[in-house]
């Protein structure tokens, strides 16, 4: 799943623009950034979440966390983390 502080309507348009998505894009819009703050990935100066990725196992435990500064997460990196859970 992916998340931002955009409204669900912006995310709907974003999903359409991407040609459709197969995962939920969730909206931390109101109250803005509440969940991002709880997860420690809210940039209050910009009013935006920080690019980051977490992998959560089936039991609900966080197994991977990465904050991205400049680079983007890759599918290979995240799939490798999922493989480690098997």
């Amino acid at each position: 799943m992916s998340a931002s502080c955009d409204s669900q309507y912006a995310n709907k348009a974003f999903a359409i623009g991407l040609g459709g998505v197969t995962h939920p894009i969730v909206s931390d819009w109101h109250p803005k950034g509440k969940v991002a703050q709880e997860w420690g990935v809210y940039n209050a100066d910009r009013g935006l979440p920080i690019r980051s990725a977490f992998v959560i196992d089936k039991e609900g435990i966080v197994r991977f966390k990465k904050i991205y500064t400049g680079e983007l997460p890759t599918p290979e990196e995240l799939l490798a983390e999922l493989d480690k859970l098997k």
Binding site: S2, A3, Q8, A13, L48, I50, F54, K58
Partner: protein, 45 residues
């Protein structure tokens, strides 16, 4: 406060782009979840 590896993921319920309410814990016992934050739609952010 920050979420760290090894801790229980804090639960939340947020609206999805297609109008569903998604609760993180709905996946518990079923599947692992990749949860990716991006700064803003349509931008290089």
């Amino acid at each position: 406060m920050a979420v760290e590896v090894g801790q229980m993921a804090p639960d939340f319920t947020l609206p999805s782009h297609d109008g569903q309410k998604i609760t993180l814990s709905q996946y518990r016992g079923k599947q692992a979840v990749v949860f990716a934050w991006y700064p803003a739609a349509f931008t290089a952010g």
